[in-house]
C-alpha cells in the first residue's frame, strides 16, 4: 500500500514514457490510459452524434426520405448503444483514471495491467456494433442490431446476425466496465495518501465509488441475459420465447434491473465533478459534503430496487405498479439533496463565469428539467400516456445530455488546462456553451410536446399533425451537432496548437485539491512520494 511503500521502489521513477504505438498498446500509466479513454469516448460521441443527425434528417418531414425502415431501426439502436456504452461511460471512466490518483495522492491506479485490459476491450466492442454495416456492404447479413437499445425479446430473436454481434459487444463492455470498476474501488480504498480519511476523499472519487459498486452489482445481470439471448437464438433454449414456455417479460426485468442503475452509472460521476467546478468558481467551500456522499449512497442503493418503472405498461399487477411508483418517487429526495447542495455551494459565493462554470450551471438547469419530468413519469397511471412517446425521449435526453454530457463538457474544460498545460480559447468555449444550451432546448422541448400530443418513439414516419414540431426539432439538431465541432476544434487547438496561454499549477483562482498542487501538465509519474495530508 502506498502508505508503506518507499518512494524509490517504483522502478520507472525517472523514466520518460515509452515512444510510439507501444506506449499506448502496453500502457499501464493511469494518465495514458485516462487519455485513451477520453479520446475514444470523444470519438464515439461524434459517431453517436452523426447517427442522431441521421435520425433527425429522416424525421424532419413525414414520408420516408433518407433511410429505409430497416436502416432507421438500426440507426436508433446503435445511436443509443454507442452513446451510453461507448461515449459517456468511457468518458467518465477516462476522467476517473486520469484524476482519481491525482485527487487522492496515489502514484497510479492500484491495478495498472487490469486497467490496460479494461480499456482495450472497448474498441473491439464498438467495432462489433458497427461492423455488421460494413459486412452488409459486401452482401453479408442484414446490417446491425435493429431492436432498439433495450433489445427486447422476442424481437431480438428474430433479428439478423447483427444482434449476435451486439450481444457479444455487451459481454465485452461488461468485462471492461467490471475491470475498471474493481480497479477504481481498490484504488480509492487502498491507495489514498497517508492521512486522507474516507470522509476527506474528494466528491468526484466518492461518486465513482458508488458508480463502481453499481456496475459490479448490475452489469453481470445484463451479461447473463445476453448469454441467454444468444443461446435462445442459436442453441434452442427458450428463456424468452413464449412458444417454448419462456417469458419475454423476463428479459424486460433483466434488462431494466441493469438499465435503471445504468442511468445513475452515467449520471453520478458528473454529479461528482459538479461540486468541484461550482466551488472553484464560487470561491467557496463545497456545501454539504457529507450530505452529498450520503445522497450518492442513497441513490445507488435505491436505484437497484426501482427498475420496473420502465415497465408500467407491460401488464404487471397493480400492486407491483404501485410499489415501483412509490419507490421511484423516493429517489427524488436524495436527488433533491444534491440540487440543494449545489445551490448552497453557489449561495453568497463570489462567482465568475468561465466556460466550465457555464456548463456546470447549464447542467443544473437542464438536468433539473430532466429530473422534474422524471417525477412526472414515475406516476404509474399517467405513464400510460407518456410511456414510449417522445415525452420519454425528451425526458431522458434532458437527464442524460443535460446531466452527464453537460457535466463532461464542464469537466473537460475544467481539467483540460491541467492536463495540457495550456488554456483553451475562452471565447470559443462560451460560444460552444450558449449555442449548445439554446440548440439543445430547440431540439428537445418540442419533443415533450410531441409526446403529449401522441407521437410514439422509434417510428421512422409519422402522422401529419406532428410535422411542424419535428421540423423545429430537426433544425435544432443540425445546429446542436455543428456546434460540437467548435468543441472539437477548441480542444484540438489546445492540445496540438499550443497557442493558448500557459496554465498555472492552480489553473483556476479558486481551485482546490491535490491535483492542483501539481505542475500543469503533470509529469508522467506523480505522487511517487505521497503528499502529506494534515
Amino acid at each position: 500500500m502506498s502508505a508503506v511503500k518507499p518512494a524509490a521502489a517504483h522502478p520507472d521513477e525517472h523514466h520518460e514514457p515509452p515512444r510510439g504505438i507501444t506506449r499506448w498498446l502496453y500502457a499501464t500509466n493511469h494518465k495514458d490510459i485516462g487519455t485513451m479513454y477520453l479520446v475514444f469516448g470523444t470519438l464515439m460521441l461524434f459517431v453517436g452524434g452523426l447517427l442522431a443527425e441521421l435520425i433527425r434528417s429522416e424525421l424532419m418531414t413525414p414520408a420516408m426520405r433518407v433511410l429505409s425502415p430497416e436502416a432507421y431501426n438500426q440507426v436508433i439502436t446503435v445511436h443509443g448503444l454507442v452513446m451510453v456504452f461507448a461515449a459517456v461511460m468511457p468518458l467518465t471512466a477516462g476522467l476517473a483514471n486520469y484524476l482519481i490518483p491525482l485527487m487522492i495522492g496515489a502514484p497510479d491506479m492500484a491495478l495498472p495491467r487490469l486497467n490496460n485490459w479494461g480499456f482495450w476491450l472497448l474498441p473491439p466492442a464498438a467495432i462489433l456494433l458497427v461492423l455488421p454495416w460494413g459486412l452488409k456492404l459486401f452482401g453479408i447479413g442484414t446490417g446491425t442490431i435493429d431492436t432498439g437499445w433495450t433489445m427486447y425479446a422476442p424481437l431480438s430473436t428474430q433479428s439478423g446476425p447483427g444482434a449476435d454481434f451486439a450481444f457479444v459487444a455487451v459481454l465485452l463492455l461488461g468485462l471492461s466496465s467490471t475491470m475498471a470498476s474493481i480497479n477504481i474501488l481498490v484504488t480509492i480504498l487502498n491507495q489514498r495518501a497517508p492521512g486522507m480519511t474516507l470522509m476527506q476523499v474528494p466528491l468526484f472519487a466518492w461518486s465513482w465509488v458508488i458508480t463502481a459498486l453499481l456496475l459490479i452489482a448490475v452489469f453481470p445481470a445484463l451479461m447473463a441475459g445476453s448469454i441467454m439471448q444468444i443461446t435462445d437464438r442459436h442453441f434452442g433454449t427458450h428463456f424468452f420465447s413464449a412458444a417454448g414456455g419462456g417469458d419475454p417479460v423476463l428479459w424486460e426485468h433483466i434488462f431494466w434491473f441493469f438499465g435503471h442503475p445504468e442511468v445513475y452509472i452515467l449520471l453520478l460521476p458528473t454529479a461528482g465533478v459538479l461540486p468541484h467546478v461550482l466551488s472553484t468558481f464560487a470561491r467557496k467551500p463545497v456545501y454539504g459534503y457529507e450530505a452529498q456522499v450520503y445522497s450518492f449512497w442513497a441513490i445507488g442503493l435505491m436505484s437497484i430496487v426501482v427498475w420496473a418503472h420502465h415497465m408500467f405498461t407491460s401488464g404487471m399487477p397493480a400492486a407491483a405498479n404501485i410499489y415501483f411508483m412509490l419507490s421511484t418517487m423516493a429517489i427524488s429526495i436524495p436527488v433533491a439533496v444534491l440540487f440543494f447542495c449545489w445551490f448552497g455551494t453557489l449561495w453568497r459565493g463570489s462567482m465568475t463565469f468561465e466556460t466550465p462554470m457555464l456548463f456546470a450551471l447549464g447542467y443544473i438547469v437542464l438536468f433539473g428539467i430532466g429530473g422534474l419530468t422524471g417525477l412526472v413519469l414515475s406516476d404509474a397511471a399517467a405513464d400510460q400516456q407518456y410511456h414510449n412517446t417522445y415525452f420519454l425521449v425528451a425526458h431522458f435526453h434532458y437527464a442524460l445530455f443535460g446531466g452527464p454530457v453537460m457535466g463532461l463538457f464542464a469537466a473537460i474544460y475544467y481539467y483540460l488546462p491541467k492536463m495540457t498545460g495550456r488554456m483553451f480559447s475562452e471565447r470559443l468555449g462560451r460560444w460552444h456553451f450558449w449555442l449548445t444550451i439554446i440548440a439543445f432546448n430547440v431540439v428537445f422541448m418540442p419533443q415533450f410536446l410531441l409526446g403529449i400530443a401522441g407521437m410514439p418513439r422509434r417510428i421512422p414516419d409519422y402522422a401529419l399533425q406532428f410535422a411542424p414540431l419535428n421540423m423545429v426539432s430537426s433544425l435544432g439538431a443540425f445546429v446542436l451537432g455543428a456546434t460540437q465541432l467548435l468543441f472539437l476544434y477548441n480542444v484540438l487547438q489546445t492540445v496540438f496548437g499550443r497557442s493558448g496561454a500557459k496554465a498555472s499549477d492552480r489553473v483556476w483562482e479558486g481551485a482546490q485539491g491535490l491535483e492542483f498542487t501539481l505542475p500543469s501538465p503533470p509529469p508522467f509519474h506523480t505522487f511517487s512520494t505521497p503528499p502529506v495530508i494534515e
Partner: protein, 404 residues
C-alpha cells in the same frame, strides 16, 4: 378516494387550467388528445396537476439560481461566504422545509390521484362486452366472440404516399381499411394477445397503453363517453412495420353499434358464401394482387424480391440467404432448393399462408377470407416471373382449412 377529496383535486386542477392550456376548449396541436374515457380524464387531470407543480418548482429553482448568479457574482459580492453546512437548529429546520414539501408533493398531491387511477385501470370486472385484440407483425386483428365476427385491420395509406410520390391525405398513417367499432357508454373489456413479438395497444384519447406480449393474455378496459373516431398506434418497437400498424376506433352509440354488428354479420356470411363460388384466373389474379400488396408486400416486397437475410423472394429461381433454421424450414416445405427459391407444392403453399411458418416471422393468415387466400396464392404462383398457370379456388382453401 372519497367524493369530497376528488372535488378538492378537481378544484386544484381548475387552477391548473388557468396556467396550462390543456383545458381550453379547442385542444392545441401540442396537447393531449381529447380524453373520452374515465381513465383518460383521470390521466389528463394528473398531467395538468403535474405541469403546474413542476412549473412552480422549476420557476422557484431557476429564480433562485438566476438571483444567485447576479447577486453573488464577483463584481457584486467580492468576499465569498465560507459556510459549508447548516449550523444550529434553526438553519437545519429551514433546510428541511424543501424536502418535507417534496415528500408531500410526491406522496400526497401526486400519489393519491395516481393510486386512485392505477386501481381503476386494473379493474376490468363487470364489463358488458369483451373484444379480443390480436397483434401481428404488422396489423391488428379484432374479434367479437359474442357476435361471432372478426376481421383484421390494415394500414390503408397507399405506399406511394409513404414513399413521398403522392400527396398525403389528412390521416396519413393513421387510417385503416377496417376500423375497430365499439359502442359508447358501455364498459368494454379488451383482451390482448400477440402472435409474434411484443406490441403495445395505444389510443391516446382512451388514456390506456397496454403492451401485448406473446404467451400472455393481457387485459384492459374502455368506457367511451362520446361517439367519434379515435386514432392511435402501436407503441412498442415490433420490427420494420412498427410505424405502420395504426389503431383506428370508431365509437358508435349503442343502437348504431347493434346495427353495425348485424351488417357485419351479413357481410361475413356473404364472404363465406363466395368461398363456394368458382372464380376465373383473371378475377383471382386481380384480387390476389390487391391482397398481396396490402398484406404481404411489407415483407416480401412489392416486386416479390423479398429482403436478403429476412424475407424470401416470392419470385422463384432467386437466391436467398438466412439463418439455417429458416432455410431448413423452407426446404422441408419444398420452397427452397440448391440455394434458390423454388415453387413448392400447392398444398404446402396453402398451408404456409393459412398457418404461417412457425419459428419464423412468416405469420398465419387464417384471418383472411378463403377467397383472399386462394387469390393471393394464385397470384403468387403466376406473378413475378412465376408461370405455373395453376388456379387455386376458394373451395380448395376451405377444404384445407377443415382438414387441419
Amino acid at each position: 378516494m372519497s367524493g369530497e377529496k376528488v372535488q378538492l383535486w378537481r378544484r386544484l386542477a381548475a387552477a391548473a387550467a388557468f396556467v396550462s392550456p390543456a383545458r381550453a376548449p379547442a385542444r392545441a396541436f401540442y396537447n393531449f388528445q381529447r380524453p373520452v374515457t374515465p381513465i383518460a380524464h383521470d390521466v389528463l387531470f394528473i398531467h395538468d396537476l403535474f405541469l403546474v407543480i413542476i412549473a412552480v418548482l422549476f420557476t422557484c429553482g431557476l429564480g433562485a439560481l438566476l438571483y444567485s448568479t447576479i447577486a453573488h457574482s464577483r463584481r457584486r459580492n467580492p468576499h465569498p461566504a465560507t459556510f459549508s453546512q447548516p449550523v444550529g437548529r434553526k438553519q437545519w429546520l429551514w433546510v428541511s422545509v424543501p424536502f418535507a414539501t417534496l415528500l408531500i408533493i410526491d406522496y400526497v398531491v401526486l400519489g393519491i390521484p395516481a393510486l386512485h387511477s392505477i386501481l381503476a385501470l386494473a379493474d376490468t370486472s363487470n364489463a358488458q362486452m369483451t373484444v379480443k385484440v390480436t397483434a401481428h407483425q404488422w396489423h391488428w386483428q379484432y374479434q367479437y366472440p359474442v357476435y361471432g365476427i372478426g376481421f383484421s385491420s390494415n394500414l390503408s395509406t397507399p405506399q406511394a404516399q409513404i414513399a413521398d410520390r403522392a400527396p398525403k391525405d389528412k390521416h396519413f398513417l393513421l387510417e385503416v381499411d377496417h376500423p375497430l367499432v365499439l359502442p359508447t357508454h358501455e364498459k368494454i373489456r379488451l383482451i390482448l394477445a400477440s402472435t409474434d413479438v411484443i406490441h403495445a395497444f395505444w389510443v391516446p384519447s382512451f388514456g390506456i397503453k397496454q403492451d401485448v406480449v406473446p404467451g400472455y393474455l393481457r387485459e384492459t378496459w374502455v368506457d367511451i363517453d362520446k361517439p367519434g373516431t379515435y386514432r392511435g398506434q402501436c407503441a412498442e418497437l415490433c420490427g420494420v412495420g412498427h410505424a405502420f400498424m395504426p389503431i383506428v376506433v370508431v365509437a358508435k352509440s349503442p343502437a348504431d353499434f347493434r346495427q353495425w354488428v348485424s351488417q357485419e354479420q351479413s357481410r361475413e356470411a356473404a364472404v363465406r358464401a363466395t368461398a363456394t363460388e368458382t372464380l376465373t384466373q383473371a378475377q383471382l389474379m386481380a384480387r390476389g394482387q390487391a391482397v398481396y400488396l396490402k398484406n404481404c408486400a411489407a415483407c416480401h416486397q412489392a416486386n416479390g424480391m423479398g429482403l436478403t437475410g429476412a424475407f424470401p423472394p416470392i419470385a422463384t429461381g432467386h437466391p436467398f440467404n438466412a439463418s439455417p433454421q429458416m432455410l431448413a424450414a423452407l426446404k422441408s416445405l419444398g420452397f427452397y432448393a440448391n440455394g434458390l427459391i423454388a415453387e413448392g407444392p400447392v398444398a404446402k403453399h396453402i398451408r404456409i399462408v393459412l398457418h404461417g411458418i412457425p419459428g419464423t416471422p412468416m405469420p398465419s393468415w387464417s384471418s383472411l377470407s378463403a377467397v383472399d387466400v386462394a387469390a393471393v396464392i394464385t397470384f403468387e404462383r403466376n406473378a413475378f416471373g412465376n408461370h405455373t398457370g395453376e388456379v387455386i379456388e376458394p373451395a380448395q382453401v376451405v377444404a384445407a382449412e377443415s382438414a387441419h
